[in-house]
């Protein structure tokens, strides 16, 4: 009988404590981020899909078409195509095809790249309707982002700007 009442009272107190905790939290500021209106700034080391790095001296890609990334890739999602023009000593990159559908973002390619020609982008907002949308030619992306006359201060990674158009209403 004593146990019965002990449990009854103890239980009621435990329930009241729980209610009190959630009540306190109800008046604390929200901690969520209103995603489409605000976006997360990725950390410096965030590994999203890879991007070709830009040589600050020549303004061209650093890639020397050695194919190490292609061989290191566990999912075979990189195809590097280069051509050797008449008289030139080195191969020149023409196409760098990344099949992002099968990429597991492990970073083996970046690690194995001797000339450090590949970097990670911090783009995470990628969506598309067809899987073909994600077979990307990184060389083409590079050329679009770095027109030949572009100033040397261009930020390769692009990056997402924090875009707070509307803060929460309460």
């Amino acid at each position: 009988m004593v146990d019965y009442f002990k449990e009854l009272i103890g239980g009621t107190i435990s329930l009241a404590t729980g209610l009190w905790i959630t009540f306190k939290y109800m008046w604390q500021p929200v901690i969520t981020l209103q995603y489409p209106r605000q976006s997360v700034k990725m950390t410096r080391r965030h590994r999203s899909h890879i991007e070709l790095a830009r040589d600050s001296e020549t303004g061209e890609v650093k890639c020397i078409v050695c194919g190490m990334c292609q061989r290191a890739c566990p999912s075979n999602c990189i195809t590097v195509i280069g051509e050797k023009s008449e008289g030139a000593k080195k191969k020149v990159l023409t196409k760098y095809i990344l099949n992002y559908n099968t990429c597991s973002l492990c970073g083996m390619c970046v690690e194995n790249c001797k000339p450090e020609a590949i970097t990670f982008s911090d783009e995470y907002n990628m969506a598309g309707y067809r899987k073909e949308d994600f077979i990307m030619d990184l060389k083409k992306r590079f050329d679009e982002k770095n027109p030949k006359s572009a100033a040397a201060t261009h930020n390769v990674a692009g990056g997402l700007k924090e875009d707070i158009t509307r803060t929460s209403s309460n």
Binding site: T12, L15, G18, T22, Y25, C106
Partner: protein, 372 residues
């Protein structure tokens, strides 16, 4: 209970719990034979998420298998990384610098906390409490931010390398982790007040789903499931690896064997992990994070190697058979949830559905790890 099984007839019916069911956390299917709401027989059906990780390992170079580790137990990916690199390092005889070892231990323990926090939230969700999930995710988000700055990913980490770790920490890491540890110390009492001491939860978990120590031994269950049944087995203590012998921590053991005991083991483990992390931060030596002589192309000598580590769910073992080439001859992975799940069939006999859900949740299953 016995009578129930012997008298199975038209009185019982079969209920498919899964493969798509809110509380099987993925694609586990449990075939339940029910008498009313009482379970006469429960049979887990596996294989809905089978991806041939072991076979993939045989066809890839040692380094190329690294990202697969994070895809098995995606909640404690770093422990799987650790198990795999330890096994390969053992095979190839690679020495790991001390700083890298400590970094491994710190990040693995952080990962263990994040895994237990997610389990805590998801378990409460199974039991019908929504709010603790969001509170746990609040803490977990901060943790993932910290791990993101070091490893570069938030869930399927691929941070360890043969001979060290991928990246050294930056200057923000130590203060951020210290802040997290302090925060977690204040949050844990709140969790206990809100959840552990709640009479409804106590009634739901105490004495529910008893797993005896014999059953644990019979099915080879490890981790919090074994420790909740009074079997004090922790790979970190019993077969020490890395720098764990130098760390001072306790292994929480409860002898009741019910769901509440497993719950308490995990909550205590969060506290112990905080202790380990603090010691790691204090003792973190300067130095390289990668062995200078680690070969790029690995060709371990012929042999048979085994390494077990304590993942968040129990003992994760890697058996590596090398034939001297740059790919493993055989890569056998022992995943803890597989053994932990196998006792469910026996333990769930004669239970109510609601209690079986409480038992299933307390085993902390990650289905892709069971199926591999």
């Amino acid at each position: 209970m016995r009578q129930l099984i012997e008298s199975q007839s038209d009185e019982t019916f079969i209920l498919n719990l899964g493969p798509q069911h809110p509380s099987t956390h993925g694609v586990l299917r449990v075939k339940l034979q029910l008498d009313g709401e009482y379970i006469v027989e429960a049979e887990p059906v596996l294989g809905y998420c089978h991806r041939m990780h072991e076979k993939m390992g045989e066809n890839r170079t040692f380094a190329q298998f690294m990202p697969n580790c994070g895809r098995m137990d995606y909640l404690s990916a770093l422990a799987y990384n650790h198990g795999y690199v330890c096994a390969v390092e053992k095979a190839a005889g690679i020495e790991v610098p001390e700083r890298a070892e400590w970094l491994r231990v710190i990040t693995v323990e952080l990962n263990r906390i994040s895994s237990h926090l997610l389990w805590f939230g998801a378990y409460l969700l199974d039991l019908g409490g929504f709010t603790p999930l969001l509170y746990a995710f609040d803490d977990r988000e901060r943790l993932l931010d910290i791990l993101d700055t070091v490893t570069g990913s938030r869930l399927t980490y691929c941070y360890f390398r043969f001979g060290g770790v991928y990246n050294d920490i930056d200057e923000n890491f130590v203060p951020a982790v210290r802040e997290f540890v302090a925060r977690m110390r204040t949050r844990l009492p709140m969790y206990h007040k809100l959840v552990t001491k709640n009479i409804i939860l106590m009634k739901r978990l105490e004495g529910i789903g008893p797993v005896s120590a014999e059953m644990v031994r019979k099915y080879g269950a490890t981790g919090p499931v074994a420790r909740g049944s009074g079997v004090s087995y922790d790979v970190r203590k019993n077969e020490p690896y890395s720098v764990y012998p130098e760390v001072d921590f306790d292994v929480p053991v409860y002898s009741e064997g019910d769901s509440m005991a497993r719950y308490k083991v995990r909550m205590d483990e969060i506290e112990q992990s905080l202790r380990i992390i603090e010691q790691g931060l204090n003792r973190l030596p300067e130095g390289p994070v990668m062995a200078p002589k680690a070969p790029k192309i690995l060709k371990p000598p012929k042999g048979d190697f085994y390494q077990a580590v304590e993942a968040a769910r129990g003992s994760f073992g890697v058996r590596l058979v090398s034939d001297g080439t740059n790919t493993p001859y055989r890569l056998k992975l022992r995943s803890p949830s597989y053994s932990n799940l196998s006792l469910f069939g026996e333990a769930a006999q004669g239970m109510l559905i609601a209690d079986a859900i409480a038992l299933l949740g307390s085993l902390d299953l990650v289905i892709p790890e069971i199926d591999r």
